[in-house]
Symmetry: C2
Subunit: 166 residues, 2 copies
DNA sequence: TGTTAAATCTTGTTTGAACAGATATTCATC
DNA sequence: GATGAATATCTGTTCAAACAAGATTTAACA
């Protein structure tokens, strides 16, 4: 956890400031806190839809895809279910069944951990790695198109503000 | 849709810049676009959980609550299902059943539109209005606590950036 | 006017999420 | 080493979301 101070001079064109009010067709102005919450929900929904559209041809949910990326990041080192749950973006109750589906599709394997037989160790398979390799450019492209409206500096500011909220 | 130019001088303390990397335990740095997407997902998940917790005592989902707020905003004017769908933050496929649940709970009523019998007009009931009145301070408080880490200027910037992405 | 298309809502089915309870293994303590 | 608590995962059930097809009413128009 670092502590730095950035000084940023930001010139922003406020083009679509009324978007949310347009959708909701509210007459009176909303508190800034509510507007922010609703805007985050709305943006999340838009991004989710776009990503899902990219993953649809591969029959993967966003969560399944993220788990595969987590496993790849391990580079062969074992991960147990708890680890996966901790690293998932949307906390889920049943990671077991998510992994089940990835096993059925042949993208991951599950072994009982010999050191601690309560745990299960999960690995990504060659098939899983190959799938990710195919998906990488697709998802990269989608993510870039999603964030295309902001330049690097603006994105950094956005991430900073989000991190302060979390 | 207005067009204005704001000049904002922003001094931001970057305190938790590494949060996402901490969770995912990734070694190599992520592209800024991916980081942004994951950060939005993560923030959305956190906010959703907090709001759900506030609504839980009232046995309302976030979507149900938002629909009630939309109906209240109409001040007695009829809204049909299509209108509601258009104004919902997360586009849903079956608004019918969402409204069904609100009817069962006695918060809204449904009538066939006489001018166009394909449409159904939906109104909020007195019970629904009373519920919202109870919920207002609770949700306001939650929303404020969610956004408490940012001051008004930062929130405005955040909303502007989000709007540019949408 | 009769046929077809469009708009609007509903229903059926399949899949995913949430929650609680069950199972299996390990750890701590006596 | 027997017992109860803690850890880690799995399973059952219930409820919500996604998707597609169906039903009803209106509009278009030859």
């Amino acid at each position: 956890m670092f502590e730095q101070i950035f000084i940023i001079h930001l010139y922003i064109q406020i083009l679509y400031m009324q978007q949310l009010e347009d959708i909701l067709k509210t007459k009176q102005p909303m508190p800034l806190s509510r507007k922010t919450v609703l805007n985050v929900f709305h943006l999340n929904s838009i991004i989710k839809d776009k990503l899902l559209l990219s993953l649809k041809p591969y029959d993967l949910s966003i969560e399944q895809f993220n788990v595969l990326r987590i496993l790849r990041g391990q580079k062969g080192q074992p991960v147990n279910l708890q680890d996966i749950q901790d690293r998932m973006i949307n906390k889920m109750s049943n990671t077991t069944r998510l992994v089940d589906k990835l096993i059925i599709k042949g993208y991951v394997e599950r072994f009982v951990c010999e050191n601690n037989r309560r745990k299960v160790e999960i690995f990504i398979t060659e098939t899983g790695l190959k799938l990710l390799k195919n998906l990488d450019p697709v998802v990269d492209e989608t993510e870039k198109s999603i964030t295309a409206a902001l330049n690097a500096e603006e994105l950094k500011i956005l991430n900073t503000l989000i991190n302060k909220l979390k």
